[in-house]
């Protein structure tokens, strides 16, 4: 903040010693704010609060990013540890928690037939084994640290009724950090997660059709009723 020094009292015609100058307000300075009108001061305070809020938000975001990075590092260390269990046991562990083979295959980046071979004793490459242990470490963290009782279900339920996108989709497209950040942060709503994951998702997945239960009890498709569009 800039400090304005008030000028010394003006005494014309004679020089007087400094210590004789009357000092009505000794060491007194005026701030910019004190030179402002009330209206200007109010505007200045509003601006300053915006700056503070922006700084605070940036700091908050940096803290969340830092926290996310630390969790990712922790999960990487846990993944290395979990590799000791071996491919077959890790696959069985995920399946016992309700994961579909097709989802496990996509998370690891292999085909379903490859997973089938591993289940029956086939060897996974060290790179793919590490991918599998990363999935297991993440599931451990979601269940044990974030207290998500049914992780498979939590990952498979769509984030919004307006789009079929799930957290499983995020993970399958390598967005582990976004899933983690949505849990260590306190302001990332499911819609905000989708905005970051697939901007324009609302338009991409808008549909003029809907699924309904037909007279025979089976699901069918029909154009949306006007009020639902």
């Amino acid at each position: 903040m800039t400090i304005i020094t008030r000028p010394a009292p003006s005494l014309s015609g004679r020089t007087i010693p400094l210590d004789e100058i009357p000092r009505l307000e000794p060491d007194r300075t005026l701030t910019i704010d004190e030179r402002l009108t009330p209206v200007e001061r109010s505007a200045s305070l509003v601006n300053r609060s915006w700056v503070l809020r922006s700084d605070s938000n940036n700091l908050h975001a940096e803290i969340i990013d830092g926290h996310t990075e630390l969790v990712v590092e922790q999960l990487e260390a846990n993944a290395q540890e979990r590799a000791k269990a071996g491919t077959t046991a890790l696959l069985a562990e995920l399946a016992d928690q309700g994961f579909a083979w097709v989802d496990i295959a996509r998370l690891v980046g292999v085909s379903v037939p490859a997973i089938r071979k591993w289940r029956t004793g086939g060897a996974a490459s060290s790179e793919k084994l590490l991918e599998l242990t990363r999935v297991v470490a993440l599931v451990d963290w979601l269940r044990d640290d974030k207290l998500i009782a049914d992780v498979a279900s939590w990952l498979e339920v769509p984030l919004s009724p307006s789009a079929p996108l799930t957290r499983m989709d995020l993970l399958q497209r390598g967005k582990h950090d976004l899933v983690i950040r949505s849990l260590v942060g306190d302001g990332l709503t499911p819609a905000a997660v989708l905005d970051e994951f697939e901007p324009g998702w609302r338009e991409s997945y808008s549909s003029d059709f809907e699924v309904f239960t037909a007279g025979d009890g089976q699901r069918s498709i029909r154009p949306k009723q006007a009020e639902h569009r």
């Binding site: 016992d96 085909s111 037939p113 279900s153 498979e156 498709i221």
Partner: protein, 226 residues
């Protein structure tokens, strides 16, 4: 969304082909089977794809007596023009010795289930591949473009059931069960009422599906483990 969709990668349509095909997987929509003779299609044994609705494939544990199929033929590479203008075909990628195979949607017909030999399966489709096949088939017949997500929502339970049935049969046979009986055993189990609705009905609810998978694995262990 009002246009037919284009897959980002044609390989995303194929779940397995050639020696990757699991003989224990139940026949399903999007499967390509070789050597099917279709009376109205030149009476030559040829590869066909099953295009019957996923929910209409079976009567109980058995295949329905008649299935809708369409021939699979070789074509040129699936350019954007093929996806956006060649509405009579559905590209499905490499099948057997065909580098760029397509389903001929304008030659759909019925065959007897007995004409289909599951042992001659060449290829089966991913869920996305089946949804895309259904989208193009409906469009070919009606000129109506329905988003694949809607097909997925409509038949999601049938897709889950096919995956569960494959897993049940695979696991049970690995544990020494009689292959001739495991299909019926699965059907009886999935149709059992639990908590007011059948397990099959629970598959319509994405939140409940992992619970059905867990219950099935426990059931297989309890029923077939020595």
């Amino acid at each position: 969304m009002a246009e037919l969709e284009i897959p980002s990668d044609i390989e995303a349509l194929c779940l397995a082909r050639g020696d990757e095909v699991n003989p224990h997987r139940p026949l399903f929509t999007g499967d390509v089977i070789d050597g099917v003779t279709v009376e109205v299609l030149d009476e030559v044994a040829q590869p066909v794809v099953i295009v019957s609705h996923p929910c209409s494939m079976r009567a109980g544990a058995e295949l329905a007596p008649l299935l809708h199929v369409a021939p699979v033929v070789t074509y040129h590479a699936p350019s954007t023009a093929v996806w956006q203008k060649h509405f009579k075909v559905m590209p499905i990628g490499a099948v057997a010795n065909m580098q760029h195979a397509v389903v001929k949607l304008d030659r759909m017909t019925l065959v007897s289930a007995g004409a289909i030999d599951p042992g001659r399966r060449l290829y089966y489709s991913t869920r996305h591949g089946i949804n895309l096949l259904r989208q193009r088939m409906v469009h070919h017949l009606t000129r109506v473009a329905i988003p694949t997500q809607t097909f997925d929502e409509e038949a999601g339970g049938a897709h889950e059931e096919a995956d569960l049935m494959e897993d049940w049969i695979d696991s049970a046979i690995d544990l020494g069960a009689d292959a001739a009986e495991v299909g019926t055993a699965f059907h009886d189990w999935i149709m059992t009422v639990e908590g007011g609705r059948t397990r099959q009905a629970k598959l319509l609810d994405s939140q409940a599906v992992p619970g059905v998978r867990r219950a099935m694995r426990a059931e297989i262990r309890g029923r077939y483990s020595p």
